[in-house]
Symmetry: C2
């Protein structure tokens, strides 16, 4: 992969929870964490479920052929975070039955890991993230507020998400991780643990509309994800990696071009 | 450029002010603004001056040849934000004399715009950003605090930045922009205007150590930069651009793969 991008990247793949690049979002926290190490490539698509994610994935994750030709970055790690929209109640096109959700997530893992996949990328670590809890009351309130702000166009929204059903998808995601032998962040449990319980009042600080995470919610995820990376994939710990380009105080003042070329050579040779 | 990255990107090039991917930083705000439109490629290198930036630029900005082979993203816009470190007082290797600073910035613009440059990229808009004001008292305090926190190792730091000298570099940057016919954000003036004056007290909310910007400081920059983009390069206004991948409610539910392929085809054909 040529010089406009670094050689290596981390891809965040999922729905609106991934797409957010707001203050304190997962993407912002990861971009800061991997600053001057890896680019963070945000491939979050708001509202998408696991059915729709598959054809999208096939377009945003390079083929083996493209990667080998240097046409794409090496994705060292991909987070796959889907389930919140699959768990929408039947009646919405977003709803994906539990079994198909599991099959879809397994298929996404296979698209990366199976040698027969055109996207096979043996160097890419896969981490699944499951759906966080939903605060039903806050969610329906947010939907009605939005409907009112748009002049009450169309039918008044009704409740389309359920705490217990979302939990089934969260548990199913962990089962897929176990079946496929990949790591997972159990975000559902992490948030319930941080909140000290499952009640709307306890969960409130972690969600701004009952579904989407506040910075405090993302902090729980980031802490769990970064701990997992450091313990399971120490080679991906940014604090142990060299920065891209030397620290400014280490620049060879007499021959900066040579110093940089040397860094570049080492990097391309895989020595950095 | 293959599928792990989008075809088009915006590159932020500069020093630590660019490198920051913290809450409310330029990079975070731009990544949120261009969400599902362009990738934001952060190429900020803390402590670097314009001398050292040139060999780095030659390594992070693709050659024309690489781009034409599809080996790199098209950089639709690059911000070049250097000067704060060039303006460090003589005695530090960071210091670059004013005339050479101007020549270096002009050379960076030429590396993108000159047909004889190996990095020539006629589709890349260039926007220069000048150095913001410095709060001398806050900066020396921060340096001494850091020195104390490291056990007072080495000599006690002295003042190495000056308000009036930094202003000369800020003005020089605008002169280069005028000479080269590229747009610029006059961040110096924007911050002084927002602050209502140049006194340390008035400037305080915009800097956390007298040099580096707070979220409030970056907000001034982002507002100026995004307004400039919208007025001068309306084709780069993300609010007028199609999202990468359709809105979830527009997915063809019967044939999602065909719908996505069609979007992809249009995108590759330059119709999106």
């Amino acid at each position: 992969m040529a010089s406009a991008s670094y050689t290596d990247a981390i891809m965040l793949f999922g729905d609106s929870l991934t797409q957010a690049f707001s203050d304190g979002s997962l993407a912002q926290r990861m971009a800061e964490y991997y600053s001057r190490r890896y680019d963070i490539v945000n491939r979050g698509f708001g509202g998408y479920n696991s059915d729709w994610a598959i054809p999208v994935f096939e377009q945003v994750f390079a083929t083996k052929e493209a990667r080998e030709k240097g046409l794409a970055q090496n994705v060292k790690l991909i987070t796959i975070w889907l389930g919140a929209n699959d768990a929408v109640l039947p009646g919405s096109p977003q709803c994906v039955p539990l079994d198909r959700y599991k099959a879809n997530i397994a298929q996404l893992v296979d698209l990366v890991q199976s040698p027969s996949s055109p996207h096979h990328s043996p160097d890419t670590k896969v981490i699944l993230i499951n759906a966080p809890p939903i605060i039903e009351e806050a969610w329906i309130e947010a939907r009605i507020e939005k409907w009112e702000s748009f002049g009450e166009e169309g039918p008044k929204p009704d409740q389309n998400r359920d705490f217990g059903i979302t939990k089934q998808y969260a548990e199913a995601c962990l089962e897929v991780a176990k079946d496929k032998g990949v790591e997972a962040v159990d975000l559902w449990t992490a948030i319930v643990t941080a909140a000290g319980g499952e009640s709307p009042k306890e969960l409130a600080p972690y969600f701004y509309d009952g579904l989407h995470l506040t910075s405090e919610g993302y902090a729980v995820l980031f802490n769990a994800l970064s701990s997992l990376i450091v313990s399971k994939y120490p080679e991906l710990n940014p604090e142990k990696m060299n920065m891209r380009m030397p620290h400014w105080a280490d620049v060879d003042l007499e021959k900066p071009r040579i110093a940089f070329d040397s860094v570049q050579r080492k990097r391309l040779a895989g020595e950095l």
